[in-house]
């Protein structure tokens, strides 16, 4: 179990807790249960937790699957810097948020789930994990003429070094253009007139 990033599971758990808080809160407010104002709080807290947890952080190893449309929230969450990067802060925040919802039966499930998420975040923080935003990859501008290979700079005879390399079982052939060093060193540089 060495390479588990607990923060990823804590994130799923917290997102689920947010949804449960919202649902419990709606039930309590709509049904006008006794002390239903805790339900109203629960809805607000649930929405906040969902927005905070929606952008998934980047995994340390391997590629991370982004949630649909998360880049908008990523830019907002990024703004808070160390407050959102640090998982100790998140653990404490979730624990505090979960407490008021514990006074109402309809939302107590949200409290329990958010407290569990807080515990997992604490574990993640202790292991030194951090929230890093998933940045959109900069679009590579296609370089004009980038794939045109320069004609060889040596005059013949040229050693056909590439054709002798063995393919298949080994690693892919390292890039080798026309070998400029080669066995023949030219006293004056040779250029090709063809453009």
């Amino acid at each position: 179990m060495g390479q588990i990033e607990w923060a990823m599971w804590a994130n799923e758990q917290a997102l689920a807790s947010g949804l449960i808080l919202i649902t419990g809160g709606i039930v309590a407010t709509a049904g006008r249960f006794t002390q239903w104002y805790f339900g109203a709080y629960s809805i607000v807290a649930g929405v906040f937790v969902c927005l905070l947890e929606y952008p998934r952080g980047k995994r340390k190893k391997g590629s991370t699957m982004e949630r649909w449309g998360q880049k908008y929230m990523t830019s907002v969450v990024k703004l808070f810097g160390p407050l959102t990067r640090n998982y100790y802060v998140r653990a404490v925040l979730h624990l505090l948020l979960s407490v008021p919802a514990g006074f109402l039966l309809a939302t107590i499930l949200g409290t329990a789930c958010l407290a569990i998420a807080s515990g997992i975040y604490l574990l993640a923080a202790v292991r030194g994990e951090q929230w890093t935003p998933i940045e959109p990859k900069p679009r590579e501008r296609p370089q004009i003429g980038g794939t045109i290979k320069q004609p060889p700079s040596n005059p013949p005879p040229r050693p056909p070094a590439e054709a002798r390399k063995k393919p298949s079982e080994e690693e892919e052939a390292t890039a080798a253009g026309g070998s400029p060093g080669g066995p023949q060193a030219n006293p004056i540089p040779v250029t090709d007139e063809v453009v």
Binding site: E12, L15, I20, G31, R56, I108, A112, A163, S168, E172
Partner: protein, 527 residues
């Protein structure tokens, strides 16, 4: 659309029947509490009470997930309904206006007969939270729901694929869930009027005279209630017994000795294990569960069998794809330490058998997804060796798509010997295979261009030249459709979801609307 229905009619029918049963059970239970006489007084306090029954069937992964979604949905409905119930019980306990509900609520708990109470909230100052955590139903409910939520959040696709152990171990919380489900209803909180009480004074007659229930000369006496016996155990008993039997069987099988006869390390981090076990017999394309106690005593992982039934050993190809597989490969790489012990459970069957039901078969394997087809092709090789000409299959198109050149060496000898055998038997047209290398660069292509005139391919040594990039399925399918205008073609894929989508689309597009002409049927291996 028509093609989709033809391909999937059985699953649709099965799902429709199952959903229909669910709906029927829900409506039946709901109507029972809504209309039956026993629950007349219960309804007075609660307004309406809906309770749902959940069945658990573990059949295969998709169905398992579907059942899980149903459970989550019904759990949500169940909890919300009981939240309303408890709130109403609480209010009627607080009510002092002498209304029907307050009289009903005041039926006390310590009657000598053992309690004919209706309202589970005994005292005015008892909160619903207190009742929840001190009653069996409430406590088990909370424990069950938390276990369910933890199971669901650790089972999302992302967590499962990236951190399998979290998913595997957390999912064992289902033990608490099932235990809780069994004892959830013991307390009998949902109450209905007893038979004798109804006979003495039917609610339709006596309800309006509730103020006079305490008078001795009134014909109507106070109604008496009893709890519903727990029913969930009836639903879960059979599946639980089946599951326990399966776990016992797995344990028994794991104790049987597995002899590893050959270990081969292939390039691109693939390990081939050839093994023997007493009493083991397989069909093409089946899979086994493998456990390695020295790596992780509790984890069982599935692997497709890559050997043919005709061989005297069975083999699997394991690709490094996570913690367990990497540790396994590392353990076998150690030259000087003893070989780790392996436990095997299986074999279990999948749809690969169906390949031989089609006249023309198109097999598409992506990367390590070629394993079920390796088994099929090997089996075909043996069948031809034994001159078994009863094969319904007349032509096979095999596509193998790999990212790296090293991957092709996994089954290179298989393809070479198949080529040779087909030539010897004069059946060169039987197997038409193409290899695709998707991770190519200009150097590899340069080599290929230089060696264009050679008879064999420079990457694999096979007569068939390797193509670069991904197959253009439209071209392939239209060629196949024109070569076999009147056949039924089975398309089999073991690979990623995106490839499945494009193949499925091609199947629909190139299947003729006339059922006598060419028809493509799509089958996907699920892992």
């Amino acid at each position: 659309m028509g093609n989709w229905v033809v391909n999937h009619w059985f699953s649709v029918l099965f799902l429709a029947v199952w959903l229909g049963l669910n709906v029927f059970l829900f409506v039946d239970a709901f109507l029972k509490y809504e209309t039956a006489d026993r629950y007349y007084y219960t309804r007075k306090i609660l307004g309406f009470c809906s309770r749902t029954l959940r069945k658990q069937l573990d059949h295969n992964l998709t169905f398992h997930k579907l059942v899980a979604y149903m459970i989550c949905l019904h759990t949500a409905i169940h909890i919300i309904a009981h939240l309303f119930n408890f709130d109403r019980y609480s209010r009627s306990r607080q009510a002092t206006d002498g209304s029907l509900v307050s009289i009903l609520s005041s039926l006390s708990h310590d009657e000598t007969k053992g309690g004919s109470w209706l309202n589970p909230i005994q005292f005015r100052n008892m909160t619903v939270e207190y009742v929840t955590f001190t009653s069996i139903a409430g406590l088990t409910g909370v424990i069950m729901t938390i276990a369910l939520i933890l199971m669901v959040t650790s089972a999302t696709e992302f967590i499962r694929r990236s951190y399998f152990e979290v998913f595997w171990y957390t999912h064992h919380l289902f033990i608490f869930y099932i235990l809780g489900l069994g004892i959830h209803g013991i307390g009998g909180i949902v109450r209905g009027q007893t038979e004798e009480s109804i006979n003495e004074g039917h609610p339709h007659k006596c309800a309006e005279y509730f103020e006079m229930w305490n008078n001795h000369d009134c014909r109507c006496r106070r109604p008496e209630f009893e709890g519903q016996p727990p029913e969930s155990w009836k639903w879960i008993l059979a599946p639980v017994i089946l599951y326990i039997c399966e776990r016992i069987l797995r344990f028994y099988r794991s104790q049987q000795k597995v002899v590893i006869t050959k270990v081969v390390m292939h390039p691109s981090k693939v390990l081939e294990l050839q093994m023997n076990k007493r009493g083991f017999s397989m069909e093409v394309g089946q899979y086994i569960f493998v456990n390695c106690p020295s790596i992780s005593p509790l984890e069982w992982h599935p692997f497709t069998l890559t050997s043919a039934p005709e061989e005297d050993f069975f083999s699997i190809h394991i690709r490094a794809a996570g913690d367990w597989t990497e540790n396994l490969i590392r353990a076998f790489e150690q030259q000087y330490s003893p070989i780790p012990r392996i436990e095997v459970d299986g074999p279990f069957g999948t749809a690969s058998e169906d390949v031989f039901q089609y006249e023309v078969a198109v097999l598409v394997g992506a990367g390590i997804g070629v394993t079920p087809f390796a088994s099929i092709l090997k089996s075909i090789w043996y069948k031809f060796q034994c001159a078994d000409h009863n094969l319904k299959t007349k032509k096979i198109y095999f596509y193998w798509i790999c990212r790296e050149t090293g991957a092709f060496s996994w089954f290179n000898d298989l393809l070479t010997s198949l080529e040779k055998e087909m030539e010897e038997l004069g059946k060169v047209g039987f197997l038409n295979y193409r290899l695709f290398l998707t991770g190519w660069d200009s150097n590899i292509v340069g080599h290929a261009a230089l060696n264009f005139d050679k008879a064999t391919d420079i990457l694999t040594g096979l007569k068939q030249k390797t193509s670069f990039g991904r197959p253009m399925w439209d071209n392939e399918f239209s060629t196949i459709a024109t070569s076999h205008p009147k056949s039924v073609v089975g398309v089999f894929l073991c690979g990623p979801q995106t490839l499945a989508k494009s193949l499925r689309k091609c199947c629909h597009r190139y299947s003729s609307l006339d059922p006598r002409k060419v028809q493509f049927y799509f089958n996907k291996e699920n892992f």
